[in-house]
């Protein structure tokens, strides 16, 4: 049973045996949330697959409206941010609080770069009249279902961008807590958990990029 004879660190809640059990439990909870996220995006990917199977020629035509270069830049930016999050966790594990804070700040900066590029891409499309669903007014694509591709595009990238925005908020919150000196190699669970979330955002984009931008 629980052994409380040794001094229990303050961050360990009373219903856990020790810090390790609390860490593993928090991580398990996060993974179950990530399973939800995968199946939530899965529904959108499912819509993509069904419509691509129905209208393959539409997807080839419409993908040409997306800028491969900026899509590739954003892929590199997100992978870079995943790397800095991993480095942030490593810093926390090694009690390097300065490295932790710097890596978190670089991650936020990269996430902001991602959002700015995404913003330019969206505004360019809005300018052309490429809106989702019934608001679609672009006439450059000769296909009766042209609006459907972009409805799927906006849903997938929009929900993903929402995740990036939430991620920026979470990582900034982790940064503030790191600044207050709340983390150490003994306790960095929130850094680890937020890192898992951020890696998932990266994972989703790894599939979105070839599926939306690279159809030839």
């Amino acid at each position: 049973m629980a052994n409380h004879s040794t001094s229990t660190p303050t961050h360990v809640h009373h219903h856990f045996v020790d810090g390790d059990q609390q860490f593993d439990t928090a991580k398990l909870g996060m993974w179950i949330f990530l399973v939800n996220e995968i199946l939530f995006f899965g529904g959108l990917f499912c819509a993509y697959i069904v419509y691509r199977a129905w209208y393959p020629e539409l997807f080839q035509m419409a993908a040409l409206e997306l800028n491969t270069f900026w899509g590739a830049v954003n892929t590199v930016v997100l992978i870079g941010s995943s790397l800095t999050v991993a480095m942030a966790i490593r810093s926390a594990q090694k009690d390097q609080m300065k490295g932790l804070k710097i890596n978190l700040l670089i991650t936020i900066a990269l996430a902001v770069v991602f959002m700015v590029i995404k913003g330019f891409e969206y505004s360019h499309k809005f300018h052309l009249g490429i809106f989702p669903g019934e608001f679609y007014t672009y006439e450059g694509l000769e296909h009766p279902k042209a609006a459907i591709f972009f409805s799927i595009y906006y849903m997938l990238t929009g929900v993903h961008a929402l995740h990036v925005l939430i991620g920026i908020g979470l990582i900034y919150w982790i940064y503030l807590r790191a600044k207050r000196g709340e983390f150490s190699s003994d306790y960095y669970t929130p850094v680890e958990i937020t890192g898992l979330y951020w890696h998932l955002v990266d994972l989703i984009w790894i599939f979105l990029f070839p599926l939306l931008y690279l159809i030839e």
Binding site: V35, W54, G80, S82, L83, R90, Q93, H199, P210, L214
Partner: protein, 105 residues
């Protein structure tokens, strides 16, 4: 299980950079294959998805630390993917075999 006090795995900076570099290179390969190599369909999609799966494996195993983590978390991810494939399969069994696509679709 609570008896042994296991150490958390700490990746070296070199390991993390190696994974990051592999991801960058695979991104370039994806773009080159899609834009400059004429692969006949459906193999173009298969190539793109295969590379994406390798990248996803690298992120999940070495950035999300599943490689060193308790196996249960890896099982959760595998189950999520399995149920995702099940969802697509059942949906496609319907949508691929309709005589007429529903007009408003």
């Amino acid at each position: 299980m609570s008896e042994h006090n296991h150490e958390h795995h700490i990746s070296t900076a070199g390991q993390l950079w190696a994974v990051g570099t592999a991801l960058f290179i695979l991104t370039i390969i994806t773009v080159v294959f899609a834009k400059f190599v004429a692969i006949p369909p459906p193999f173009d999609v298969i190539t793109a998805i295969s590379i994406a799966l390798v990248k996803a494996f690298l992120v999940a195993a070495f950035f999300m630390n599943l490689y060193w983590d308790v196996k249960f978390n890896a099982m959760l991810l595998i189950m999520a993917v399995a149920f995702f494939i099940l969802m697509i399969s059942i949906t496609l069994l319907d949508t691929l075999y309709r005589n007429d696509v529903v007009p408003s679709f």
